[in-house]
């Protein structure tokens, strides 16, 4: 019997493989053997964990010593001595070297052996308290868990190339592990397309479906399934014909990807010599590396929401490190960092309290940042501090009025002054741009362009707001139409305002990364496009082979008389022969 389950595709990729249903804890019991070349890094991981554990205790002792009783101090001091104990550290390291086992496993074995020796001593008074060793070791285990190894577990099947893992939910650490095992695809029952896991899967280009209800009940272990990210479907019990159809499709897309590489080195000029600029969208470090590989001129959109997805909000230093790593990964090519664009479908749990009755029209984007100024100041300070490591621009999301920009700029100025007075170097010229993604911003774009250094069009939100449809609502998503004249008129208006104000305009929504619509944007005079690095080669080929003059002519003719043809026909006229 065949069965089709639906969910949300995180990427458009195809995966074919056998189901492996991940049971809870399967990935979290880290006992495994190491490859020979992994021993060195495992030892380093062990020593770092001990070091961090001891530092944690030292910090605790320093902070708390006045409030603590002598017994409390002695206890912490004893734990600290255990964390420096050569019998524990060297003994554990020796097990890693000798038995080729991971740090967690070696640590437990060594601690067990020491406990046994103390039990044999019998003299309770002279012996170490059982709990002390346990608690100290627990601290190290916590530190080890914080920095999971790039491990090869014995629990899940070793080779995952042909395996599609099905789970209730997956965390980023689990996805990292599964990715190293080259998992073919991922299916989760819960989670949205903007969860940490989904962002990571997208970044690692692993086909993934989220929100597939009852997947664990409906899919059998070892059953062969097809995962179609484009349609958001899992096909089980398919016949051989369907399997071979998908295998061919997957093979064709692989060949196409390889074939497209040869365009990457070419200058970005259309067939008739018009320059265009391709930029990358990036969240996590692998994205930045991919951006570099495909030769983006800059990162046009670094989203920062993922930094806020954990249980605690990120502090300034955590953010600074993330921005700095991204900047360094780009080796001198500029990065546009968008300040927190929380709200709507991507609201971090910690900010749940800001959710109003209609999140799409509520406290989101810059509105949220301006109302939680402490949060905003932290982010701006982190970006400013990172800006000395390479060229950075700040992008403000979800604008509707010029005075929001003025307010944000004041905060940026204040942070800059504060940092200077603290003796911290910052880039004095850091450009500030704004997202044009609401009808208000698009209609009033002349007012907004004034105080901004550049504009960035978020086509996804703009289209939803202009057409008053929610794309995730299956009852109305048939109305989603990027060629709706109202959308095209606004895009043209933004492009013209940018030109008048000498304000570069970038398009960073889905329209920029879709081969069907990239030429439409070119025809509107929008020639700075930012997109996920995975789709860039295809877009580049399409634009290299386009005639900018023809695109302009076709689009303008259609705008003059939209009744002449449907939007679909417009796209067909623009598409390659």
């Amino acid at each position: 019997m065949s069965l089709a389950l639906t969910g949300l595709g995180v990427t458009s990729g195809i995966a074919i493989g056998r189901v492996h249903r991940l049971t809870p804890g399967e990935l979290s019991i880290p006992e495994y053997h190491l490859d020979d070349d992994a021993v060195g890094s495992e030892l380093e991981r062990l020593h770092k964990a001990f070091g961090r554990g001891e530092k944690f205790l030292a910090g605790l002792l320093a902070r708390m010593s006045e409030e603590m009783t002598e017994t409390g101090r002695d206890l912490l001091e004893a734990h600290r001595l255990i964390l420096r104990d050569p019998m524990l550290i060297d003994g554990t390291a020796e097990r890693i070297r000798r038995d080729r086992i991971n740090a967690e496993w070696a640590l437990v074995q060594q601690a067990d052996q020491l406990q046994a020796e103390f039990r044999r001593m019998g003299d309770e008074y002279l012996a170490l308290r059982h709990e002390d060793l346990e608690q100290a070791v627990g601290l190290v285990r916590r530190e080890l868990a914080e920095q999971p190894a790039l491990f090869v577990s014995t629990q899940v099947p070793h080779r995952l190339e042909d395996t599609i893992v099905v789970a209730t939910e997956l965390g980023p650490a689990e996805i990292t592990v599964l990715a190293q095992r080259k998992v073919a695809g991922l299916i989760t029952e819960h989670g949205g397309p903007w969860s940490h896991a989904a962002i990571l899967a997208r970044s690692l280009e692993i086909p993934m479906l989220v929100g597939v209800h009852h997947a664990l009940n409906l899919l059998d272990e070892s059953e062969g399934v097809i995962l179609d990210g484009h349609y958001g479907a899992v096909l089980a019990g398919a016949d051989e014909g369907l399997f071979s159809h998908y295998r061919e499709k997957r093979e064709a897309s692989r060949r196409r990807r390889l074939d497209l590489r040869r365009y990457l080195g070419r200058a970005s000029l259309t067939r008739d010599g018009q320059a265009f600029t391709l930029l990358g969208n990036a969240d996590l470090l692998p994205d930045f590396e991919r951006c570099r590989e495909v030769g983006v001129e800059a990162v046009g959109l670094m989203r920062t929401e993922y930094l806020y997805l954990d249980d605690a909000l990120p502090d300034e230093d955590t953010q600074y490190r993330a921005y700095r790593a991204a900047i360094e990964a780009m080796q001198g090519r500029p990065i546009t960092i968008r300040t927190l664009d929380a709200g709507g479908d991507k609201l971090p749990a910690m900010l749940g309290f800001t959710k109003g009755p209609n999140p799409a029209l509520g406290l989101r984007g810059l509105r949220l940042s301006l109302s939680l100024s402490e949060l905003f100041v932290q982010q701006i300070r982190a970006i400013l501090r990172a800006s000395v490591h390479g060229p950075v621009e700040i992008l403000l999301p979800m604008l509707t009025r010029a005075d929001e920009i003025v307010q944000a700029r004041k905060v940026i100025e204040r942070c800059r002054d504060e940092l200077r007075s603290e003796g911290v170097a910052v880039d004095p010229e850091l450009p500030v741009g704004g997202m044009i993604e609401t009808p208000a911003a698009a209609l009033d774009v002349d007012q907004l362009a004034g105080p901004l250094d550049f504009l960035s069009i978020g086509t996804n939100d703009l289209i939803q707001y202009v057409l008053a449809i929610d794309r995730s609502d299956e009852l109305v998503n048939y109305l989603y139409d990027p060629t709706h004249p109202a959308v095209l008129f606004l895009l043209q208006r933004i492009q013209q305002a940018g030109a008048r104000h000498n304000c570069p305009v970038t398009v960073c929504g889905e329209l920029a990364g879709d081969e069907r619509t990239a030429r439409l944007l070119l025809g509107l005079g929008l020639n700075r496009l930012s997109m996920p690095p995975s789709v860039l080669p295809g877009i580049k080929k399409s634009l290299l082979e386009a005639s900018a003059a023809d695109c302009r002519r076709i689009v303008q003719a259609w705008l003059d008389d939209p009744a002449d043809a449907t939007g679909q026909e417009l796209l067909e006229r623009l598409s390659p022969e």
Binding site: D74, L126, L128
Partner: protein, 89 residues
């Protein structure tokens, strides 16, 4: 390398707090430090090693030090043992 016998005269022997003081003392020095008692020889910078000696009051220990500051290390440990780890009698 130097070694010296030491006699524990504090009432409780090498119990947790005394062992902890001893280890904190040996840790201040670069020299390696060893303690032997009852056929066991342990690293004197290891709290668990020192506790595993299970040395009671009156026990005879051999302390060994090896390194650039071995004399100072011995002096410090000897002083600690002589003043009975600062415990009241």
């Amino acid at each position: 390398m130097i070694s010296r016998p030491l006699t524990l005269s504090n009432r409780l022997g090498l119990h947790a707090r005394a062992a902890s003081k001893l280890v904190q003392t040996t840790a201040r020095f670069d020299s390696e430090a060893w303690l032997s008692h009852g056929g066991k020889r342990v690293n004197a910078k290891s709290i668990m090693g020192v506790l595993l000696l299970g040395a009671p009051c009156g026990a005879e220990l051999i302390a060994e030090f090896d390194g650039p500051d071995e004399d100072d290390a011995l002096e410090a440990v000897k002083a600690l043992v002589d003043e009975r780890f600062g415990e009241e009698q």
